[in-house]
């Protein structure tokens, strides 16, 4: 196991990159803790797979260094780095049995026979594969195959990190959670460094202790699922996490409020002060689930037109028009939706402000500590 340091990494697939746009990775500079579970989350083309390949050693970065436990491994091949990888599609040795598949990495390294048997049985136990050990790998279901691929990584006691490249793509939706659970349990039991690439927020947020959100070749935020949800540091994180994503409204500061066109929205005093510091485009952001709807005007509410209501079963998504812009509110099941127009309430403690797409952070003292947020209970 190892902590992983990415030192000023940049990568371009072109031999002579000319400007920033030619880089698949712009500048990655970060340290990931030993034994942490990290997810690289982002849309396709954001550079997450490139970064994964650089960490595994399948790709050498154009610039920068990769360090494992402080040791420079940039020039080392994957097998020298002692990493394991689980791919999008199960990669198995079809002609071998499950137990031979699991033993393969150990046999290649000349591990004594008794140790191999012991390790294979241990890993099969963890992954619930004991019943399949004598079966040909080719005949297994997709999720069992994926477990075998994972098992080949786990058998090695010296493995520095296990990397996952969208490993649940081929798994049936109703089986996915079992594999997610296996992964989580493995992480808790073995405390391995795990790095997981995905475009699916559920997978990332469920799996990871820290989610690394990538956008256009850059890391835009590294944080716990709660941090990403409550304090997205970048507009993109607010949009990408959550469904639907965060609402953004361009606004201007106005005393203890911000104005969206001519509609004033009340802020808490410390945040209102921050709004004045914005140098670029100021935007107000709020999660659809924090917006409240009232059929009558109440204090600090603003009028909006209801455009559409989508019933999703467990909640309703209401699209409203506020000063010509679309705002989405997510209402709990059973809450009546006014017709025609409604009064929107922006709870001040849930309002975030963004300056040119970056979160305007509050002074350290006033920011709640991660993990201590008392989380909303519903209905």
């Amino acid at each position: 196991m190892a902590y992983i340091e990415l030192n000023e990494i940049a990568h371009s697939y072109l031999s002579k990159p000319e400007d920033q746009a030619d880089y698949a990775l712009k500048r990655i500079h970060t340290v990931w803790e030993d034994g942490g579970a990290y997810a690289l989350l982002g849309p396709s083309g954001c550079g997450k797979t490139t970064l994964l390949n650089i960490i595994s050693g399948l790709l050498t970065p154009s610039q920068g260094r990769v360090l494992y436990d402080g040791k420079d491994v940039t020039a080392l091949s994957p097998e020298k780095r002692n990493i394991a990888q689980v791919f999008q599609f199960p990669v198995l040795y079809d002609t071998m049995t499950v137990s031979d598949n699991l033993a393969f990495p150990l046999r290649n390294r000349g591990v004594p026979k008794n140790d191999i048997i012991r390790r294979v049985n241990e890993v099969a136990e963890i992954l619930d594969l004991t019943a399949f050990l004598k079966k040909k790998a080719a005949g297994l279901t997709a999720d069992a195959k994926q477990k075998v691929s994972l098992g080949r990584g786990l058998v090695r006691s010296d493995v520095a990190a296990i990397l996952f490249d969208e490993p649940l793509t081929v798994i049936d939706p109703h089986l996915k959670w079992r594999l997610r659970r296996s992964l989580k349990q493995i992480h808790e039991q073995l405390k391995l460094t795990l790095i997981y690439v995905t475009h699916d927020q559920t997978e990332a947020l469920t799996f990871a202790e820290k989610v690394v959100v990538m956008y256009d070749g850059d890391i835009v935020q590294i944080g716990t699922p709660q941090e990403l949800f409550e304090y997205p540091e970048h507009r993109f994180v607010g949009y990408f996490i959550g469904s639907p994503g965060m609402n953004f409204l361009e606004c201007v500061p106005d005393g203890d409020r911000v104005r969206v066109d001519n509609v004033g929205i009340k802020l808490d005093a410390p945040i209102a002060a921050l709004a004045n510091q914005a140098k670029g485009k100021l935007e107000l952001g709020i999660r659809p689930m924090y917006l409240q709807l009232s059929a009558k005007p109440v204090q600090d509410s603003v009028e909006a037109q209801i455009k559409a209501v989508e019933d999703q079963g467990s909640c309703k998504i209401v699209s409203l028009s506020l000063a010509g812009k679309t705002v989405r509110a997510r209402l709990p099941e059973g809450q009546p939706v006014p017709s025609g127009k409604a009064w929107l309430i922006f709870p001040p403690q849930k309002i975030r402000l963004f300056d040119d797409g970056r979160l305007i952070k509050q002074a350290v003292g006033s920011k709640l500590k991660t993990g201590n947020w008392k989380l909303q209970t519903e209905e």
Binding site: S56, P78, I83, Q85, F104, P105, K136, A138, G139
Partner: protein, 290 residues
Amino acid sequence: MDKWEDNKAWFLVLPVFIIVAFSAIIPLMTVVNYSVQDIFPGKRVFVGAEWFKEVLTSHRLHSALWRQFLFSGMVLLIEIPLGIIIALAMPKRGWGVSASLVTLALPLLIPWNVIGTIWIIFTRPDIGLFGATINSLGITFDHTSAPLDAWVTLMLMEVWHWTPLVALLAYSGLRAIPEAYFQAAKIDGASAWATFRYIQLPKMRGVLTIAILLRFMDSFLIYAEPFVLTGGGPGNSTTFLSIYLVKIAVGSFDLGPAAAFSLIYFVIILLFSWLFYQALQNVGKGENNG
């Protein structure tokens, strides 16, 4: 998946039926007809299985058959591994890919009689580059008099001509393996041999089945090369089944036995192709249903 349109579509298939009927079914039936009759000019006598008995007990047929198996077996044993080795050694990207593909394909583009002629000249003990060089080294080599030399020449000819086909098939099989398999093998610390044994070979099974079938059938039907080289000699040393058949049919005009022999020949090829196919399918049973 059944698509349907108007029944008119069947008319479009009709020409193919007619062609197949003329090219395959009618000639085959003619052969069946000949095989049970004794034919004299102007007269035909039904003889039943007589010709089949005669052919099957013929000592000359047995030796031709044995020779044929030996030859086809050797062809497979040399060409398949050699083809795989060439495919493995071929470049995977860059300009080298097309260069090696074109070079490989060259022998396949040369007409069969030209191949024979090239090799006759190439291996001639007096002026041929190969023959003369070997002889000058003190080893006597003459495919016209020594049976072994004739075999060696035939083998060289066959291997040179057809190994590229095996290599091309194997190469296409190799290229179809997803990159993730090689990455996984690397990460698992697999040696080059283990990678070949557990990834490349199993994944090439499909194309190798085709290669083996094609090469078996084709070499089992070999005619042109020995005919051009020595006409089946020296002695009967390169008289394979097809050459023997032509000798009976055209040489002695024994149409009945020749027809019976053709049918036996046909059945043997069918049988062996089926056996190979079954064997190769069973090797990887259960591998494709995941």
